[in-house]
């Protein structure tokens, strides 16, 4: 075990994957010699050569297209989108190509080896183009897997699973935690299962659900609630597509209440899907409406970032509202 921050955990996962399998190829804008603008790919070019870790020209649609082709050929491309805000030029290659490659060909061809990594989320004074949380868009796309870790241990284990998973994975990394989140991480290879949520704290009165950087926010709110005698069950979703309905629904059946929180705008965010599914499967157990504590329905602001973000106080208020309903 070693102390690693989230970036180091990502870097370690990439290093191990590249050592483990010659077909793992890491590329994107500035990921080569420089090691990426956040340094997630540091030293990989040095270690594995320019052929397996390299800069690409500045074109996200090209990067995703190239990665699709490389995966179809049998490799394990790990492509970086420099910021999740800049993943949209690649949207067609991801949504129309990666997601449908296996299906449309009747499994003659597939891009199962594909992984697309991208830093996402706010809290870094980045304004509307360095703060977005676009995970919701991808969850409406059958054929993709969407994975978001919330701490260094998960980041490494989930990334290794994503790289060698049989399906294309979009892997969003909470950039606010890149250096801020530090924890014990095994130095060797290990994999964490995709599609499984993690119950972080057990509780009786309400279920709180989040993913990525937002997990620590709901944990903080749970603590506030605890101080006032309320008992929260805290769940980290980890995988958004497919997502672990059982764990969440079981929890809500137990607690009778659910609060989902994400940074992305409220409308049609992934919280909507969770609320819609849970109200269907836990209808008779619900004692209050499912609450969504999310970003406002605006582009991500700059000066009002603090006000915009679904912080622990907003979550705490929503918990109280739900319990008093």
């Amino acid at each position: 075990m070693a102390q690693m921050n989230l970036l180091q955990a990502i870097n370690s996962a990439l290093d191990i994957a590249m050592a483990h399998n010659d077909g793992v190829v890491v590329f994107g804008e500035d990921v080569g010699q420089f090691g990426g603008v956040f340094r997630a790919t540091s030293h990989l070019q040095e270690k594995y050569g320019k052929g397996r870790c390299f800069n690409t020209p500045l074109t996200e649609q090209g990067i995703a297209g190239f990665a699709n082709g490389l995966a179809a050929q049998g490799c394990y491309p790990v492509a970086e989108m420099q910021f999740a805000d800049y993943i949209f030029p690649a949207f067609d290659q991801i949504v129309n190509e990666s997601a449908k490659f296996r299906y449309r060909s009747g499994n003659e061809f597939h891009v199962g080896g594909l992984t697309i990594r991208s830093p996402y989320g706010g809290g870094i004074a980045g304004g509307l183009y360095h703060s977005q949380s676009p995970e919701g868009y991808f969850t409406h796309t059958p054929g993709l897997k969407v994975v978001i870790p919330s701490n260094p241990y998960q980041a490494k284990g989930l990334l290794l699973s994503s790289i060698f998973d049989d399906d294309p994975v979009i892997f969003f990394e909470p950039k606010r935690l890149y250096r801020a989140a530090v924890g014990e991480v095994p130095e060797d290879e290990y994999r964490l299962p995709l599609g499984q949520a993690q119950v972080l704290e057990e509780g009786q009165d309400i279920t709180l659900l989040a993913w990525g950087a937002q997990v620590e926010v709901i944990q903080k709110a749970a603590q506030l609630a605890k101080d006032e005698g309320m008992s929260c069950e805290v769940i980290d979703l980890c995988s958004l597509l497919p997502w672990d309905q059982e764990t969440v629904v079981q929890s809500v059946i137990k607690t009778g209440r659910l609060l989902v929180s994400h940074e992305a705008p409220l409308t049609s965010g992934f919280g909507a899907e969770i609320a819609a599914t849970v109200q269907e499967h836990a209808f008779l157990h619900l004692e209050a409406p499912i609450a969504r504590v999310c970003g406002l329905d605006t582009p991500f602001p700059l000066v009002h970032e603090k006000e915009y973000l679904p912080d622990h106080l907003k979550v705490f208020e929503a918990i109280k509202y739900s319990l008093n309903y």
Partner: protein, 394 residues
């Protein structure tokens, strides 16, 4: 960093424009319109068996196209696209490759697939979306694909295969395979952003990709002069620092030789090559299209005369490699085969309902299994409304 070194700048006396036609690109041609090798042109070496394979594939595709356009009119299949006028560009380029090179096509290149040995039954099964279709009935007619034939399944969104072909070839290079990837696309698709991304990435990352542009003058109703300014796509290759060849797309021998040379270069130097074949889409865009709304019969007839199959046939005749009456018999037989294959394919069952959720992921996840189960329960309640599937539910 590589850029014009200002130290060695050749100062220009005026800010004189580099003119838009600064680059003149000629067209490689071997056979004249009567199938004779043009004087002064070196005759490429083409083995007799390869020549006949090209020629017979041309015949096959002509017959297939004719019959399937008719089958679509009769309502037997929903959609079809023919390649009339582009047979040489498509088939002779496939012949210039090794059979294990990957082909990533746009959609009008079934000739290349036929050349690779995709069987008549396989074509039919796809077009009739029956349960023998390799693609499991998931795509509209003509969206073929075959791992065995090294022919990537066709994808409708245009130009997406272009950066993919760069990536695929990069993988071939990484694994040290003696293979390249040939990527077909139309001059219309070359306007997509993916074209630019793919060409530039291939050039910079040195991938053994042959980009083969079929410039057939139209993208549905949009004529080439509404698609780009200039005389074609070839000049863009130079802009990407890529070796480039323009070839007469009606001349099978020239297309064959150009592709062969391009392949040699791509594989030896790990470098992409752009080939632009000048051709003409003699037929409608697809069976959903009617070109009389946007071009004249006169124009069509002018180009129709350039028949690439006839030109190659004349060459083979001069070589003494074929005998016309035998070939006619062969064509008659082919027509019967196709007709029979249609009848056979349309009788084969549609894929099983279970296929609805297969291949979305490598293994169907729980929620998809539940959705399928729910659907089956529903169908059992209303068997008459879902006749093709209801009868086969256990």
């Amino acid at each position: 960093m590589s850029k014009p070194d200002l130290a060695t700048i050749q100062a220009v006396p005026d800010p004189l424009f580099i003119h838009e036609d600064a680059l003149k690109i000629s067209t490689f041609q071997v056979l004249d319109e009567t199938g004779n090798v043009i004087q002064g042109i070196h005759e490429p070496h083409l083995e007799k068996d390869v020549a006949l394979r090209i020629y017979h594939t041309m015949q096959f595709v002509r017959v297939l196209d004719e019959r399937m356009v008719a089958a679509q009119r009769q309502g037997r299949i929903s959609f079809y696209m023919q390649c009339l006028g582009e047979e040489a560009a498509i088939i002779a380029s496939a012949a210039g490759l090794s059979d294990t090179d990957m082909i990533m096509s746009q959609y009008r290149e079934h000739g290349a697939l036929a050349y690779r040995g995709f069987t008549l039954e396989e074509f039919m099964n796809q077009m009739f979306s029956n349960e023998c279709d390799l693609g499991k009935g998931r795509q509209m007619p003509i969206h073929y694909g075959s791992q065995r034939c090294h022919f990537m399944t066709v994808s409708s969104p245009l130009a997406t295969q272009i950066p993919q072909a760069a990536g695929y070839a990069y993988g071939q290079k990484l694994k040290g395979a003696d293979a390249c990837t040939l990527c077909y696309f139309g001059e219309g698709a070359a306007s997509e952003g993916d074209f630019h991304a793919g060409m530039n990435m291939a050039a910079v990352l040195k991938t053994p990709t042959i980009f083969f542009c079929r410039n057939n003058g139209y993208a549905i109703s949009t004529a080439a002069d509404e698609q780009y300014v200039g005389d074609g796509i070839a000049c863009r290759g130079v802009g990407y620092g890529m070796k480039t060849i323009r070839v007469d797309g009606f001349d099978a021998l020239a297309v064959y030789e150009a592709t062969r040379v391009a392949r040699e270069h791509a594989c030896q130097h790990n470098e992409p090559v752009l080939i632009e074949a000048i051709a003409y889409r003699v037929g409608a865009h697809s069976t959903s299209d009617d070109p009389s709304g946007y071009r004249t019969k006169d124009e069509e007839e002018k180009w129709q005369k350039m028949d690439p199959v006839k030109r190659f046939e004349d060459y083979l005749l001069q070589k003494g490699w074929i005998n016309l009456s035998e070939e006619e018999k062969r064509i008659e037989a082919l027509k019967k085969d196709v007709l029979q294959a249609v009848k056979k394919a349309e009788k084969i069952d549609k894929p099983d309902l279970d296929q609805l959720i297969e291949d979305v992921y490598q293994t169907p996840p729980k929620h998809l299994k539940q959705q399928l189960q729910h659907l089956k329960d529903h169908i059992k309640k209303y068997p008459r409304h879902y006749p093709t599937t209801a009868s086969r539910l256990d």
